[in-house]
Symmetry: C2
Subunit: 200 residues, 2 copies
DNA sequence: TGTGTAGGCCAACAAGTGTTGACGCGCTCG
DNA sequence: CGAGCGCGTCAACACTTGTTGGCCTACACA
């Protein structure tokens, strides 16, 4: 069975020999990300993805094993969360909101993951992993009591994912119409409170 | 083509003659709600729903026309939002959070709708309709400036739907573990601020 | 009691799914 | 120059999906 890794920067072990098919592999991943983002897991068919990438569906199988493997290879998320210890503590909320908005607007992997996570158990578990490995550690940086970090990070996640859901997936008109600056102004204090304010 | 209405209370026109097949129709709708809630639209197959209801798949077609019709009949949402004018204005946030938690915990129609809305355009439009027809009017009751009601209601929706998403769909462990009282204590001030505080 | 009709099941359909294996071209290296 | 292998296509598989039409049964009403 061929390797299923791609050219994402977090590769390990061998320095990855360049292959003649790298362009095709990348085209498949691009098409897959877009289809997963707009259609969700079930309706993003391998045939449609292959058509978008202008290759035969069997290539997808050869390079990524099966549909699950394709999803795993196409949807890898690095939130690139900032180091909150480098900021004044009272700016954590604002920094998180702006960073999340940036991420969601430039990257449809996040939309893909949210759409898939809502209907697919594997997708939901993937999101749990991202929360645990990427969001929680950042929350620990600013939470007063580290024991409360999971609960506080979870609260922050409800607000941020709720924003993403209504703005980028469900597309509620008033949420979409909200200017970016207003979103930041409203949500930053909420996140700041969830992360740093004393328990109510 | 047979009627596709069910026994929901908002029927209109004729007083709905009782049919011998009412029990079957109800069993189909029950099974459909559960399947849509756990599997989403695509993976909730008519065959599986029929098996749950212990009838033949063709019955579903006869009574509800097609899968879309079944979804429309099975997933009708009435949020039963309280009349906020009857409360002191500063309790609106708390009232909304407690009411939403009640609704989500007793009713898997809401989970079904959220799962479907995330991957299905018709589902998303249905949610937009509920927001417009049920949430917005309530927001108008408490918003200082009615012109700001859509934006404020949208902000409230991000927080409430984000809670529902992480707690009942994605099932983030720390969000699920959060005691109901703590959820209310943390979210009520947020909603209160979104709905009634002066613009930031 | 006879009959029409509503309720229900069975079998089949066309279309689309993920997945597999055989086959051919063309580059690369000996 | 020739052999090998990576890249890609074609055709088919087994299966599931939504959907349809025919047939049988049993109830309700004449």
């Amino acid at each position: 069975m061929p390797r299923t890794d791609d050219s994402t920067p977090h590769d390990s072990t061998p320095p990855a020999p360049p292959r003649r098919s790298d362009a095709t592999r990348a085209a498949i991943l691009d098409a897959a990300r877009e289809r997963f983002a707009t259609d969700g897991y079930e309706r993003a068919t391998i045939r449609a993805i292959a058509r978008d990438a202008r290759i035969d569906p069997s290539m997808v199988m050869r390079y990524y094993g099966n549909k699950e493997g394709l999803f795993a290879a196409a949807v890898t998320v690095d939130l690139e969360l900032p180091d909150l210890t480098a900021l004044p503590r009272e700016e954590a909320g604002r920094a998180l909101v702006t960073h999340f908005l940036d991420m969601w607007e430039e990257n449809d992997v996040l939309t893909a993951l949210l759409r898939v996570g809502a209907t697919n158990r594997a997708g939901a578990e993937r999101m749990q992993g991202i929360f645990r490995d990427q969001v929680l550690p950042v929350a620990r940086q600013v939470c007063p009591d580290p024991e409360q970090a999971p609960a506080r990070a979870a609260l922050a996640a409800t607000q941020l994912l709720g924003l993403a859901l209504t703005r980028y997936v469900l597309r509620f008109p008033p949420t979409v119409a909200l200017p970016r600056g207003e979103v930041v102004a409203w949500l930053a204090p909420t996140l700041q409170r969830y992360l740093t304010a004393p328990s109510p």
